[in-house]
Amino acid sequence: MLDATGIPTKEDLERVFPTEERLMQGPTVIVECYQNIPCNPCYTVCRTGAIKEFADINDLPTVDHSLCNGCSLCVSNCPGLAISILDMTYSEDEALLKIPYELIPLPKPNQIVKGLDREGVEVTDVKVIKVIDSKALDKTPIIAIAVKKQYAKIIRSIRLEE
């Protein structure tokens, strides 16, 4: 499916999402990397040891979610823009999702934007909390959005109102 459409299936996603128990403990990384390609910057940039060293550079990343503190360094370092950070403890009914975003104009904090799923379909409105565009991110800004918890695993992109 994924290799015919570019859309990960439910099963694909289940393989990379941490347990519900882990998600309730605070921010952690979601690495949507499903294909064995020669690439390892997520490991080389990881400072907490959560993303394990690759035995073969073509391996899929191995993540120890108990070591990840959601620092986001890997988000803008992944050449495939395949990494996001999900914090299900953000508020009573909202999760905080940090995604890479390489379009201009950038959204502004507090702006309401469209939340898109992995097919690019508008699902619900989301609120931009923070826009990080430091030099260290090297032109891959990170947008933190507050998402209603039931959509936290569905939203993966945003679209600004035209």
């Binding site: 290799d3 015919a4 459409t5 390609i37 020669p38 690439c39 390892n40 910057p41 080389t44 390489e102």
Partner: protein, 369 residues
């Protein structure tokens, strides 16, 4: 006749790395490139590269070009000739080129051919309408000259170039109506596919273009579903209102100079067409002529860079230059190539190269040390 030690033809990722390595070993290098700026296709690559740190993973292509050019800038034994088109390699080793409207002959002691590849075209009715481009041309327009190619694009081909250029088009504010791919699956990296898909671009596998329409320029296009024999199925046509069609159906090695030099060539489908047979040091069947990058087989830029280092090292060693730890450096480069090609995506590259490698007497120059 200008005497030259090592002539590097082509200043893309492979050629630049070949020059760096050969110069580090002490040889004098001349890089010739037909463009005004060096870097080859790197200069248009705005995305981060894959691979490992050794191939500048996570760094953007144009930044990699600058890193390599900065390195070369600091080397006193590398000369660069821009806007110089190599016209011929003769059997006596003389190379002729056109530079500033002058016909120049040079006599190198060794040559690294790193001419890259050119885009394949696709035959369909009205494919000569203005508005129909190769993906590389669209990249040049957008990323080098800042010119928007149009407003609504149909991308043909879901290999890495098709997917990456689609993403860049969206970044430039252009709408990509669809990406069609004749094969049943996406050829490029799936992370690139997912990236454009979640921005709303449909990727239609098992689809191709039927026909383009327009009077003075492209106005629309019809796509249709393909059967298992890759023939269009009547009745499945969809019409798309597009003013740009971008063709990205693969590359073939730019190997004319190798043919002319008398290199033994072999047709290897997996590597994009006719490619030179060579030994593991990238020494071709012609003594003193080395190859690197897409001209030796179409692959990723990361492997082109590693091949460049290897070819540069082999050329310098062929002339007697040494490096105190040459064996170690070479081993590391070989390991890098192996690991880049080790995965399932590299499988066809490995298959292709295994049909191509020759034992070479002259190859001993690197290994003997």
């Amino acid at each position: 006749m200008i005497p030259v030690e090592i002539l590097v033809i082509g200043g893309g990722p492979a050629g630049l790395c070949a020059a760096v390595q050969a110069a580090e070993m002490g040889s004098k290098v001349l890089i010739v490139d037909r463009n005004n700026t060096l870097g080859g296709q790197l200069v248009k690559q705005t995305h981060m590269f894959f691979g490992s740190e050794k191939q500048y993973a996570s760094t953007r292509g144009f930044d990699i070009a600058n890193i390599l050019l900065d390195k070369i800038d600091k080397m006193k034994n590398v000369e660069i000739m821009r806007k110089a088109t190599v016209l011929a390699i003769y059997e006596d080793g003389v190379v002729s080129l056109e530079h500033k409207d002058k016909y120049i002959k040079i006599k190198p002691k060794a040559i690294v051919v790193a001419t890259g590849a050119s885009e394949k075209n696709l035959a369909f009715p009205n494919n000569d309408l203005p508005g129909i481009y190769g993906a590389g041309a669209v990249q040049t327009l957008m990323n080098e000259y800042g010119v928007k190619p149009g407003n609504r694009v149909l991308m043909i081909g879901a290999g890495n170039i098709g997917l990456i250029v689609s993403y860049q088009l969206i970044q430039a504010g252009v709408r990509v109506e669809a990406i069609v791919e004749a094969a049943p699956t996406i050829g490029g990296y799936l992370v690139h596919a997912s990236k454009v898909r979640r921005m709303g671009v449909p990727i239609l596998t098992g689809y191709s273009i039927k026909e383009a329409y327009g009077t003075d320029s492209l106005e629309s296009a019809a796509i249709w579903k393909l059967d298992e024999n890759w023939r269009g199925i009547p009745g499945t046509e969809k019409k798309l209102n597009v003013d740009v069609i971008c063709i990205s159906v693969g590359l073939s090695p730019l190997s004319e100079l190798l043919w002319q030099a008398g290199c033994q060539m072999k047709y290897i489908h997996e590597l994009g067409g006719f490619v030179p047979v060579r030994d593991t040091n990238l020494h071709s069947s012609v003594k003193g002529l080395f190859v690197a990058g897409d001209v030796a087989g179409v692959e990723e830029a990361s492997s082109a860079m590693v091949e460049g280092y290897i070819a540069g090292m082999s050329a310098a060693a062929y002339l007697g230059y040494k490096l105190y730890n040459m064996k170690l450096v070479k081993e590391d480069l070989m390991n890098q190539l192996d690991s880049l090609r080790h995965g399932p995506v590299g499988e066809k590259i490995r298959r292709g190269i295994s049909n191509l490698t020759i034992e070479h007497e002259a190859a001993a120059s690197v290994d003997a040390l």
